[in-house]
Amino acid sequence: MRGIITCWAAVIRTKLAEQMAYRSHFALSVLLLIVGDLVAPLVTLLVYRAGASFPGWSLHEALLVQAVFVLAKGVAFPFFFGMVGTTLSQVREGTFDLLLLRPRPVMFMSMLGGFDPEDFGRLLSGAVLFGYALSGIVAPDWQSWLQFSLLFIASITILCSVSLFLSGILFRWVGSSRVFDIFDAVTSFGMYPGTIFSKAMQNILTYVLPIGLIAFVPASALLGKSGWGSLWALASAALLLLLGILFWNRMLRNYTSAGG
């Protein structure tokens, strides 16, 4: 465990040093990510200002779902999601070999290599939005906060699992940058309160593609709209993570390097 923490510390230091080599690029990237993540909440704001709404959801409640979504991405993207991009390029170029030459688990090395400090910009925009959304709702009690904290861990776990699935696909589906589009298309449903969808769609987004667990379920807990029963999401996230790990390691066997 100490070795793993040392590795993370060294990687964070190194990646920050890399970013500081191009400070303006870093600052601009962070800014663009913040702006990009605030587009959907701004549209929501415009919708409510125009008199429309998501049925059963006030503006601040709807924004809370979107804030949780951006916050979850703000944690998961810097630490886990970068591995999708690095797998994409390293498998295509054959430089994934270099990770296999390191005396650490390959998946761990892949996550380390994909660590991206720029993505912390999402955390900042998520935090601002979260604060704004909280200011307009009844203050949650400690039980709601506890439920939310546990469900937020499940949310991060789901995003980590999704990263593993997308990254794993790239060992077989070499060089396909479309995995990012797939991610954006599928997870965009998670930015809205689940109850606005049909019952069938809600079931799909909860039990088949657990996108609803990324933001809707944790936000509902904070709003006191779900009981302790919603903690089944923890087991569901753990199972998905296990499947993601198995899938990634299975797909790694397809790696054939590149010509020498």
């Binding site: 190194t14 650490r104 020498g260």
Partner: protein
């Protein structure tokens, strides 16, 4: 012979490879528009045998070169030896471990330098990349400092350690790649074209470093197309072609396979005709009176050649040289029958 000498020195078999085979399935298609469109529906696959049933052993402290034309199977063999790829069949036991099964334990004992795949980080100084490697390999602080100081001094890169990698010359970068590969003090190092693109001075510095590490019983396995490098570094050469080892010998042994072939540069008083006796071949005609010949002394002894040639054409000047290693290797690659 080489292995016998090594055994006397008390070293052991480091790598034992038996019947190693690796096949790949590759997509195959033609270049016409209809063939390209057809591949949208169905892509025919073809099995390629990159490495075909090879066996060999390597002793501790050896310096072995893998030679072969592009696509011969050298890099695939190297990747299996380093644990990056697993074989389709066959066995590898290296330092008592199976590389692809005990990968983490194994790679801790090996290093690798790829001339075309950098392990440094482009935008930040090499010292930062070394620090990252230290954390990944779990090298203790004291050992790290001692090793780094030693390597920096040996390779004379003290003044470039804090410059961004992108600002270093290719030679400086390669030296730093060697430091990356050696920081955890590996027993076995794989070098894949380590001096590609370097100037003569940088090449010599790197070669001298490799020799000094080899004297400390570090085993090196080298793949290269630079035959000078092979002559200067490798005690043993394995020539791989079409996935098979065609020759596994010391360089002197490979030379002797050509029998008594020599290169003769000669200037004569009269123009030399095309119709030459058996054992003689004109390889280049510089002008009417100057030419380069290849002579097989097993067929035409030197003494006879000089006497006959002098009598017929009158020798003004003559230089006899060993056939260059390039010529020998070329014949091995093309599988010419003149090599026994």
């Amino acid at each position: 012979m080489l292995r016998r000498i090594n055994r006397k020195c008390g070293v052991y078999t480091l790598i034992d490879v038996k019947n190693l085979t690796r096949t790949f399935m590759i997509h195959e298609r033609g270049h016409t528009l209809s063939e390209v469109i057809r591949t949208l529906v169905h892509r025919p696959m073809k099995e390629v045998r990159a490495v075909d049933d090879i066996s060999f052993t390597i002793e501790q402290g050896e310096m072995v070169a893998f030679l072969g034309p592009n696509g011969a199977g050298k890099s695939t063999t190297l990747k299996m030896l380093s644990g990056v790829l697993h074989p389709t069949s066959g066995e590898i036991k290296s330092m008592g471990l199976v590389p692809w099964k005990q990968r983490r334990e194994y790679v801790r004992k090996i290093g690798a330098v790829f001339g075309q795949k950098s392990q440094l980080l482009w935008d930040i100084p090499p010292s930062d990349a070394f620090y990252l490697n230290k954390a990944i390999y779990g090298v203790p602080d004291k050992e790290y400092k001692e090793t780094l100081d030693e390597l920096v001094e040996l390779l004379q890169v003290g003044d470039v350690m804090r410059k961004p990698t992108r600002q270093l010359s290719l030679g400086e970068r390669m030296k730093c790649e060697f430091i990356m590969a050696m920081l955890h003090r590996p027993e076995l190092v794989f070098l894949d074209e380590p001096t590609i693109g370097l100037d003569m001075i940088a090449k010599e510095n790197i070669r001298s470093f490799i020799r000094s590490m080899n004297q400390k019983k570090v085993t090196f396995i080298l793949t290269t197309h630079d035959l000078d490098e092979v002559e200067l570094l490798a005690e043993r050469v394995m020539v791989i072609n079409h996935g098979r080892i065609v020759v596994d010998d010391a360089l002197s042994g490979i030379r002797s396979r050509l029998g008594g072939k020599k290169k003769v540069k000669i200037t004569t008083e009269k123009t030399v005709n095309e119709g030459l006796p058996p054992g003689l071949l004109i390889t280049e005609r510089m002008n009417l009176l100057e030419l380069e010949l290849e002579i097989d002394t097993a067929i035409l002894p030197l003494k006879t050649f000089i006497s006959q040639f002098n009598e017929t054409y009158g020798i003004i000047d003559m230089a006899i040289e060993e056939l260059p290693i390039e010529a020998i290797i070329k014949q091995l690659y093309t599988g010419e029958s003149s090599i026994s």
